[in-house]
């Protein structure tokens, strides 16, 4: 009886120590789930989800405080990917947070710009170049198309322009086959 108890106690102690040791040794820094959700989000940093950026939204999803269908730039594919990752049911995009749009970049009308720097302060990815009382311009390759610079502009000189299709970014289309009327041979017996 006593031996059995001792054995159990010793075993419990040993396993406890092992668990404690591995908890310290293999400790995971940060929340890997947040990073994995963040990797799926499109990093537009537009805030349409109601959070001040993609990372805060990812954190909210991980905590269960936000739904997976609040990201219009991620589109339907993004919701599917999040649903797969989190093992939840797919939901269509919530229209309250906006609708998906074709990818665009902001363009500053440089003749109208008064150099107020308000858009520079609003840009989440520092994609606007300029200084006070000097013309601003957008670094198109860095612009995520978040539209956050539109609202603060006092002279409305920023517009969103959809990215044009060029031979460089052109994609082969999904093969679709037009449904054609039946071949004329079949009609022949009728006329004959």
């Amino acid at each position: 009886m006593l031996t059995a108890l001792l054995v159990m106690v010793a075993l419990a102690l040993f396993l406890g120590l092992m668990l404690g040791y591995s908890a310290l040794k293999f400790k995971v820094e940060g929340d890997p789930l947040v990073d994995r959700i963040d990797a799926i989000l499109p990093q537009t940093q537009c805030g349409q989800c109601g959070f001040p950026g993609c990372k805060p939204y990812a954190t909210a999803i991980a905590k269960g405080e936000a739904d997976i269908n609040q990201c219009p730039p991620g589109g339907d594919a993004g919701v599917h990917a999040l649903a797969d990752l989190l093992g939840v049911e797919y939901k269509p995009l919530n229209a309250e947070h906006g609708l998906p749009k074709p990818k665009s970049v902001a363009v500053i009308d440089e003749n109208t710009c008064i150099g107020c720097t308000l858009c520079i302060q609003a840009c989440p990815v520092d994609a606007i170049l300029g200084a006070a009382k000097h013309m601003h311009t957008i670094i198109a390759s860095e612009c995520t198309g978040c539209e956050l610079c539109l609202a603060p502009c006092p002279v409305d000189c920023i517009s969103m322009q959809p990215i044009a299709e060029t031979p460089d970014n052109w994609k082969w289309r999904y093969p679709v086959f037009a449904i054609k009327p039946e071949a004329p041979q079949i009609q022949k017996p009728q006329t004959a």
Partner: protein, 582 residues
């Protein structure tokens, strides 16, 4: 007998098909030259890689062989003027691309003089190899087999290439195309001289020239030319099977070595060039001629099919006219062969470095494909695939947009040869699905990269804002501390006012000293003439200032009286300069 022993040494790749060759139509006549067309349209994008940088302006007269656009970055190729003339325009025009989208092009109007820019041969045997490859960069030579990869990268002769085998691709396996065949028949000497240059630059130890057995005349001409060469060049006749002209397949057939999917042939010590490319290399070194023309097969539904030596930028219509014109029932123009080519958006597009063949299509040549039926998983495509892929699985994944899975099944090893579509009993356009899936994956990868950059920039911005906040807080804390010590000094006897006054006086004194120190040097001792000029300018300046003040005063009075409250005008009046200009 020798042919038998040679064939026994060769290796066989899996699959492949035997489509009707249709090569005889276009190799009956010798290579012909085209009359100079009315205009040449030269797309900047004629190669794989970066767009070259423009070096000419509209209206400029250029000579034949003059650089129009310079290679930019590592993977890029230059564009030269194919004849002398005037640059008529630089802008978007239709290019031969499956998208049918316009791209940046230079339009050249020939003046008929065909006047050359002075050019000289390069003594490649005695020049520094490094310099030779450097100069190749400005030659505009790209792979003329159709891939259009810049050749100067493949000929990197920095001693680290480690190339032991040079493979020359004269297989030309695709139906209808005969441009390489005719080139080897008529200009075998030039091709062999070009091979010698490549052999020397790469420091190769053996050279294998692969020619399919349906081109006996070409093989004989090449053998005769190789016999005169001082290098050990071997012409090897390979069995005709599509797609033995693919570089990796040909290397496998000739050497028995298979190149792993994640490696290049150079990693295995093998380099492969098309016969047209080595001929262009020869022309460049022997005569100093950059790539200005290429041989194009014009065949299909035309009156007199044949091969033409065509200046780059020549419209396809001019080419068709030279071949006797397209027959009336022509409904499509293909660039490339029937297996891998694509429909041209219009017959007005120019010939580029990648244009090896133009086929006028008609329903009698290429009947409408039968409607696609469901896949019956017969695996005939897998038997035909020369890359040992599982096309039926790839089709499944591509069709359902299961892109990650398609990538796992090595979609990117697919060479889009079309063997699978050719044998499919259900007439499924398999290659179209693979192309769709490939470009979708590529665009997703690009979006992912852009997202990573955006994340990084956003994180940096947040970090910067946080850092600025901390710095500001620190400054405030320091100021507060300074005020405290001053406060304690005031308690020592002096009043706070006195301390402030003293500080201001000290600052004024400092400023005066500084002002005296930085007397501008260029006005110290000047001749009287210059001094009087300066005085005059100063007087004018003060007058102008008075004038501006007056006008501003007047303007403010005007606006007050009109009291027009438009936002935009208020903004323009907020800045004094435009007002003064008025």
């Amino acid at each position: 007998m020798s042919a038998i022993t040679q064939l026994s040494r060769l290796f066989k790749f899996n699959g492949g098909v035997h489509p009707p060759e249709n090569k005889l139509q276009s190799c009956a006549l010798p290579i012909r030259r085209l009359p100079l067309p009315a205009k040449l349209v030269l797309p900047l994008r004629q190669h794989v890689g970066n767009l070259p940088k423009l070096r000419v302006a509209v209206g400029e007269r250029v000579l034949k062989g003059q650089l129009l656009a310079e290679a930019e970055g590592t993977i890029s190729a230059a564009v030269h003027a194919p004849t002398s003339g005037i640059i008529a325009s630089i802008g978007e025009a239709l290019i031969p691309h499956p998208s049918g989208l316009p791209d940046m092009c230079i339009t050249l109007e020939p003046d008929g003089a065909d006047e050359w820019l002075p050019h000289a041969p390069l003594d490649w045997r005695h020049a520094d190899k490094q310099q030779l490859t450097e100069s190749l960069r400005s030659s505009g030579i790209v792979g003329l087999g159709g891939a259009a990869f810049p050749s100067h990268i493949k000929l990197r002769a920095d001693g680290t290439s480690g190339i032991d085998t040079l493979v020359i691709n004269g297989a030309e396996c695709e139906p209808y195309i005969t441009c390489d065949d005719m080139l080897m028949r008529e200009r075998a000497e030039e091709v062999v001289r070009g091979i010698e240059i490549a052999y020397y630059l790469l420091g190769a130890k053996q050279c294998l020239i692969g020619i399919e057995d349906n081109k006996p005349e070409a093989a004989a001409a090449m053998r005769a030319a190789c016999d005169k060469s001082e290098y050990p060049l071997q012409v090897i006749v390979v069995p005709t099977i599509y797609p033995s002209g693919d570089a990796r397949r040909l290397i496998h057939v000739l050497t028995g070595r298979e190149i792993p999917s994640f490696k290049r042939s150079t990693d295995m010590g093998i380099q492969c060039f098309n016969v047209g490319t080595v001929q262009a290399i020869y022309r460049y070194f022997q005569f100093g001629e950059p790539t200005l023309s290429r041989i194009v097969t014009v065949t299909g539904n035309v009156a007199q099919a044949g091969n033409f030596d065509v200046l780059l930028g020549t419209p396809v219509t001019a080419l068709l006219d030279a071949a006797g014109g397209a027959l009336p029932d022509t409904n499509d123009y293909l660039m490339g062969g029937p297996m891998m080519g694509f429909s041209l958006p219009s017959a007005e597009v120019p010939v580029t470095k990648a244009t090896n063949c133009i086929i006028a299509g008609a329903p009698k040549l290429f009947p409408e494909p039968e409607p696609a039926m469901p896949c019956i998983r017969c695996a005939r495509c897998a038997d035909a695939c020369p890359v040992n892929l599982q096309p039926q699985e790839l089709y499944w994944f591509a069709k359902s947009s299961n892109l990650e899975k398609a990538r796992d099944y090595k979609l990117f090893d697919c060479i889009e040869c079309g063997c699978c579509s050719y044998v499919c009993p259900s007439h499924i356009p398999l290659v179209q699905y693979y192309r769709f899936a490939k470009s979708e994956i590529i665009s997703q990868d690009r979006a992912k990269q852009a997202a990573d950059v955006a994340r990084e920039r956003n994180e940096f911005r947040l970090m910067r804002i946080e850092r600025e906040k901390q710095e500001r807080a620190q400054k405030h804390a320091q100021k507060a501390a300074g005020a405290k010590t001053e406060g304690s000094a005031a308690a020592d006897g002096k009043t706070l006012e006195d301390a402030k006054k003293a500080a201001i006086e000290a600052a004024v004194a400092r400023a005066q000293v500084q002002k005296a120190a930085v007397e501008p040097k260029n006005v110290s001792d000047l001749p009287p003439a210059v001094q009087s000029e300066i005085a005059e300018i100063d007087a004018r300046r003060s007058d102008a200032a008075l004038e501006v003040e007056k006008m501003q005063l007047k303007k403010t009075i005007d606006t007050n009286s009109v009291a027009d409250g438009k936002g935009n005008e208020a903004v323009s009046q907020a800045s004094p300069e435009p007002t003064a200009e008025k």
